[in-house]
């Protein structure tokens, strides 16, 4: 055994700026997750294409509803608007939905696999974010084919494209929807530090999310339901909650249902929720890891 010491880290690690190093780690995590996602690409393509099947029944259902009513529109939506709305919520859900995120975090807390993030110089939330970005990038790369085909086929349902600033707000709302969906689900998963099984909490969240996000129907349709507070209906109340920003809001922006001052107020509410949930997620991780105990190998 020679007495020569081996440096644990190359010198360049010390020399390189911390930010650049963090970015390099993040890119590596992204590349790993991309490769992981592409293993089951056939199954992935089939699953993506099939998600459009429920839209077909929705188109026929709403066509039947409008054929039986004398109304030209329902809550400001014509039949074509409703179809376009459902298609656009498919797109927004593609950004905001985080399948398996909360359950996965809770599982790694429960089975102890999370402890590797406590000893490695890798930020857990950053890793999860990179994994989700990779997941989404692969999803979009595969899903762009059926999405483009369906949107092209259904182009007749869409109103003329909005102006450039509205398109920019729409794109920003999609990115914010991704971040909001990520931080909300990640925070739910972090509850695993306090309760052993989060599946019932996740279920409750999904139920509320399904109803209030606008996934089932445009939130404007709730405007006729009173809350008991004078001058405030259920739709008004839902606008202040985070759920609508994960499905309804981007779709409503594209369709011109939210404009002017109201648009910027809604965007500010969405940014506010992203910040709140990001802080909540970080705080839950910080407090959770302090009380976490793992035993054995």
């Amino acid at each position: 055994m020679s007495g020569r010491s081996v440096p644990l880290e190359p010198d360049r690690h010390v020399a390189s700026p911390r930010l650049l190093e963090g970015l390099r780690v993040w890119c590596t995590m992204l590349a790993i997750c991309l490769e992981e996602r592409l293993v089951y690409r056939g199954d992935f393509l089939l699953g993506t294409a099939m998600r459009f099947l429920p839209i077909v029944t929705q188109i026929f259902l709403w066509t039947a509803v409008f054929s039986a009513t004398s109304r030209a529109d329902i809550a400001g939506y014509t039949r074509d608007d409703v179809v376009a709305y459902y298609l656009l919520t498919m797109l927004t859900r593609a950004f905001s939905s985080m399948p398996g995120l909360a359950g996965g975090i809770a599982r790694s807390i429960r089975d102890g696999s999370i402890k590797k993030f406590l000893v490695q110089p890798v930020d857990f939330i950053g890793f999860l974010l990179a994994a989700r970005v990779a997941h989404k990038l692969v999803y979009y790369a595969v899903a762009i084919v059926p999405f483009a085909a369906v949107f092209l086929l259904c182009r007749g349902y869409f109103p003329p494209p909005p102006d450039a600033p509205t398109v920019l707000v729409f794109l920003a709302s999609l990115v914010l929807a991704f971040l909001l969906g990520f931080f909300m689900e990640a925070t739910l998963g972090m509850l695993g530090f306090w309760v052993l099984e989060v599946s019932s909490i996740v279920f409750g969240y999904m139920l509320v999310q399904y109803l209030l996000s606008g996934h089932m129907f445009p939130i404007d349709m709730l405007a006729g339901i009173p809350t008991g507070i004078p001058g405030v209906n259920v739709a008004d109340l839902v606008q202040w909650l985070p759920f609508g920003y994960t499905a309804y809001f981007p779709a409503a922006v594209w369709l011109g249902k939210i404009e002017g001052e109201e648009l910027f107020r809604a965007l500010a509410v969405e940014v506010g929720w992203v910040v709140v949930m990001a802080i909540a997620c970080r705080a839950a991780w910080h407090r959770g890891t302090r009380r976490y105990g793992a035993f054995g190998g």
């Binding site: 199954d43 089939l46 699953g47 077909v56 029944t57 026929f60 039947a64 409008f66 039986a68 349709m221």
Partner: protein
């Protein structure tokens, strides 16, 4: 046959004992399915605040439509409780070689693969379905007669048989493909077409789709036929619908059996 019934009773009893051992989990599972079902009912109630019926002149006003929804809940809860839990396990059984243990049993493989697990919590939705039908029937324009009440359970069984055939076909596809999770998603997406009255599938696209979903994959007969037996007078064309459902159920069982046997013949064990 009596041997299989006795074995099924043993399976069901074991599952019930298991469910009752984890009672809180059982209640949670009941609440889970009731929660999703309530969301859908809330959506239908909202739709009826905007329109008097689903489809102009279709006759699917609020009461008949909720009889339809209740019937759908009954049919689906039977399939979800009796067949889906077993079928869902098949993917892993094929992938890990666990299917070998099924094939060496002195019992029919299709019976074991499709009926060894019963999910009693899924019956919760069925009970709500019965409640919905009980609410809707006194409000129907044509009260169902005694013959309709006799035919109704028969057509519900036809619906269950058609869906069972579909489950078995997908199980066969899983055996052939080795592993495919999307096929079970496909089951849910496909049965989505049966959730609404057939009249909504109208127009240049709806007509052919309705024909395919009636005669090729008879998914539209699953709920539509029993719901019609209750909600509409049972005369003339209605009888043809009942006969069609009976034929479709028999065909579904026979074809799925043949496909399943063919798939098993091609099965290559994954175990060592």
């Amino acid at each position: 046959m009596s041997r299989y019934l006795a074995i099924f009773r043993t399976f069901a009893r074991a599952c019930l004992v298991r469910d009752m051992t984890f009672r809180a989990n059982f209640l949670l599972e009941c609440l889970t399915s009731l929660g999703w079902m309530s969301m859908n009912l809330a959506f239908y109630l909202l739709v009826f605040t905007f329109t008097p019926e689903i489809g102009a002149g279709s006759g699917w006003t609020k009461a008949p439509f909720f009889a339809f929804v209740g019937t759908g809940l009954i049919v689906n809860s039977i399939v979800q409780a009796l067949f889906m839990p077993s079928a869902e396990e098949l993917t892993e059984m094929v992938r890990t070689g666990g299917l070998d243990a099924v094939l060496v049993q002195p019992l029919d493989a299709q019976f074991l693969v499709s009926m060894h697990r019963v999910d009693f919590s899924s019956f919760a939705n069925g009970l709500v379905g019965v409640g919905l039908v009980a609410w809707a029937v006194p409000r129907l324009e044509h009260a169902p007669g005694p013959i309709a009440w006799l035919v109704y359970p028969l057509t519900i069984l036809c619906g269950v048989a058609i869906l069972y055939g579909l489950v078995i076909m997908l199980a066969a596809a899983t055996i052939l493909m080795g592993r495919n999770q999307s096929l079970y998603d496909f089951w849910f997406y496909l049965t989505n077409f049966s959730r609404y009255p057939a009249e909504i599938y109208a127009g240049p696209w709806g007509g052919p789709l309705r024909a395919v979903c009636t005669f090729v994959i008879p998914i539209l007969l699953v709920v539509n036929v029993p719901a019609r037996v209750l909600a509409r007078p049972l005369a003339g064309e209605a009888w043809w619908a009942v006969v069609t459902a009976l034929l479709a159920a028999c065909a579904s069982l026979a074809v799925s059996r043949a496909v399943f046997q063919a798939a098993l013949a091609r099965y290559r064990s994954a175990s060592s």
